[in-house]
Symmetry: C3
Subunit: 344 residues, 3 copies
Amino acid sequence: MGKTNPGRFFEDYRLGDVIRHAVPRTVAEGERALYHALYPARHALYSSDEFASACGLEGSPLDDLLAFHVVFGKTVPDVSLNAVANLGYAQGRWIRPVYPGDTLRSESEVIGLKQNSNGKSGVVYVRTRGFNQMDEVVLDYVRWVMVRKRDLDAPAPETVIPELAQVVAPDDLVIPEGLTFENYDFELAGEPHRWGDYEIGEKIDHVDGVTIEEAEHMIATRLWQNTAKVHFDATFREDGRRLIYGGHVISMARALSFNGLANAQMIVALNGGAHANPCFAGDTIKVWSEVLDKAETGVPDIGAIRLRLVATKQGAGEFAYKGADGKYLPEVLLDLDYWALMPI
Amino acid sequence: MGKTNPGRFFEDYRLGDVIRHAVPRTVAEGERALYHALYPARHALYSSDEFASACGLEGSPLDDLLAFHVVFGKTVPDVSLNAVANLGYAQGRWIRPVYPGDTLRSESEVIGLKQNSNGKSGVVYVRTRGFNQMDEVVLDYVRWVMVRKRDLDAPAPETVIPELAQVVAPDDLVIPEGLTFENYDFELAGEPHRWGDYEIGEKIDHVDGVTIEEAEHMIATRLWQNTAKVHFDATFREDGRRLIYGGHVISMARALSFNGLANAQMIVALNGGAHANPCFAGDTIKVWSEVLDKAETGVPDIGAIRLRLVATKQGAGEFAYKGADGKYLPEVLLDLDYWALMPI
Amino acid sequence: MGKTNPGRFFEDYRLGDVIRHAVPRTVAEGERALYHALYPARHALYSSDEFASACGLEGSPLDDLLAFHVVFGKTVPDVSLNAVANLGYAQGRWIRPVYPGDTLRSESEVIGLKQNSNGKSGVVYVRTRGFNQMDEVVLDYVRWVMVRKRDLDAPAPETVIPELAQVVAPDDLVIPEGLTFENYDFELAGEPHRWGDYEIGEKIDHVDGVTIEEAEHMIATRLWQNTAKVHFDATFREDGRRLIYGGHVISMARALSFNGLANAQMIVALNGGAHANPCFAGDTIKVWSEVLDKAETGVPDIGAIRLRLVATKQGAGEFAYKGADGKYLPEVLLDLDYWALMPI
């Protein structure tokens, strides 16, 4: 009893607390290969050292979302073990590429608290930062989760809700040092469409679909050292089903969006995201995107494109999203809002 | 609609066209480990840097078939997205070993075209070459596929059928530079049988079997960035089954042939191959081989052996192959004809 | 017939024989990533190069059990192909950490033989040693298996039963050169509990559970090049089920014990082990540990803790172990007795 980690409950969080998360992780060629084996990831910058070098990087970085999952996974034992729901993301920024051999660790600062009116749970806002072995920040993001109280009589903390930007401003996007699309090879990248070819409001049906398997989502989720029981233990839920880690759906969706967005190479910001409905093994994921905005970056040949990425499951209609009541349709799994970099 | 890749249709191919395929890929220790995790691969030259060094190589290369699948996978979006059938292979040759850290890309030249008499489809012959980051050819092969027409009224091209050798001539086999079996350690390799111990016409039942899982064939197929829908999307076929990438069966069959052919170390040529029947998850693959030919290579201690490798599924009789009508028996999945190098 | 390996039968073993096992294997970052993807392994020393360096090692070694499985896997074709049962382990010691890039091979010496009274089989005792590419021993252990006779008329060998210690004596534990826990970071390691916090007799329910999948145990078992048919071929057993390699259960159990034993970093000895009941896909594994003993190691800040690790499946009661008859309860899968190193 005393030795295992019971997780934190709502009353255990204090505004301003900084939690240094456990188990740093060295990520290398093996993690890269597994990422490409679990998701149909084909963005050339993450696939080929030669292509990445031609774009001014020291070599092919690990996928942006791989870095995100590793940083995120470390927060689970401290932030979401007793979470009832993962409510949202905001202000996510990728600051520095992660290369094979880097060691990642995470810290989270409690930046907001609000007890629910039922007195049984509350919302915790954390800003999580991922660091490499040089203690350089590689990414940061805000996440808020609903967490149960252990002691219903514990007093409610003062309510503090952080002001969160709806969208990361284009000026705040970080362009990796040295990155250039001046000699970008569209043929090797897989598609001819450049930044200028996309219009705000344009929707793309990415066509391809993948049916999810238990073994695959568990392999992925363990790889990020995310050990939430609900993903692994078929006896945990009453219905005997394992809930699929939302990050698995995010990575699958992003990889499937290659077909139509092959040149949206690097994710540089996560404006927001919602896991609209749970995903289970046997579901077949398809995705569509909508161009929400475009911006220049200050680097001549690099444009930023803001995309809505929506993952749906079998039974969804074309561009399925929300119903007349403003709620997500039951076949919608994911609604993600991000900025990516493209050759202009 | 406009942004995703619809694939090429029969009328889109022109004789002499050279297609430079997308998404180069750096392959490293991660891909090697996954290959050994997905297939029971045990040939010592691909398992141990020490063993490979003792054979004159700079280290253990990546498995020949891993290189083949990576090169092949890149051709799928350009060659076989609208293919009705993968009809055959010929004149495949491995020219140069692929080592961890190499970056592979592919090009295909259209070398033959023949519209079918029904006017709805045609056969496209391509010669595909895989290159490393030094632009050296690592392997090449001819493949022909039946591709649908988009516009049935498109005029038929002039029929050109390339002359293809039934077998790669022994003189055309490429022995990797420096390779020697002079100090070959049969004990570490796993079997005492040398080139001289095999007789033309000899058949070997390799005994072992593996039952195929959905998660495994999808992980493998993604690893080669082969994204054909039919392998991943259970809603794609009317019967709700995912067709297994033929290359998965090839690699599984080759790995299973270790037991009896442990010293047939390197594949150097692919004379031909047929995916006789489709393979689905739940099938149990077993294999047998027949020695079709033997040849000297000019290198004193290295012999070439030509093998027929046949993969069957549950229900097959011993050495199951073709019926009295000359057609493959329904339990036969694969018929592969290749040259390998063995210590004399 | 003649070319495949029929395996050794009881009468093929001679006391004092040393068998040099086939197929050396270079293990690297890919194997590490796969280990972390297949098991919820989170011990910081094996996860982070930085953490391992701070503990005086040259970098993060490959997991102790990964080394064990690779060494063990090589023995299967020579020792247990015709085994009826894997009876036990004793005197296992990890002598030297295995680092990415090392090449492992194995040798086994026959140290005991005893024909069974039924004359149909016998018990073979082997001492197996794993070597790296410098021919340094990385681990050794004794294992005994019951093996069938091929020729029931073969004369029984003289019975020799080796004297095996019940427990590796603390003085015989090998502390890796340079290892220090002087600057051990408990926060990054994941738990505050040190050696002094554990009491002999203390039991820990590790809480977490994992439901086993066919694809995962096969991927793992192939990774160690363990090719015993019974793990892979669903047509092999009459009930159509694939028996899960006992080592898969060992690694899953050890990884699950992180929650409560995060600081039991390195396994240095295997005192004994029993695969109490078979494990099949669909089983949900949970584990508990009991502190059997504690010892000082001579290195000031490093203590040794002797643990019983018990894996159970669905339906097991708390701390399920043996019944009144002294036999394992049917829900008990594994009973492992090992020494680990912890910060004092």
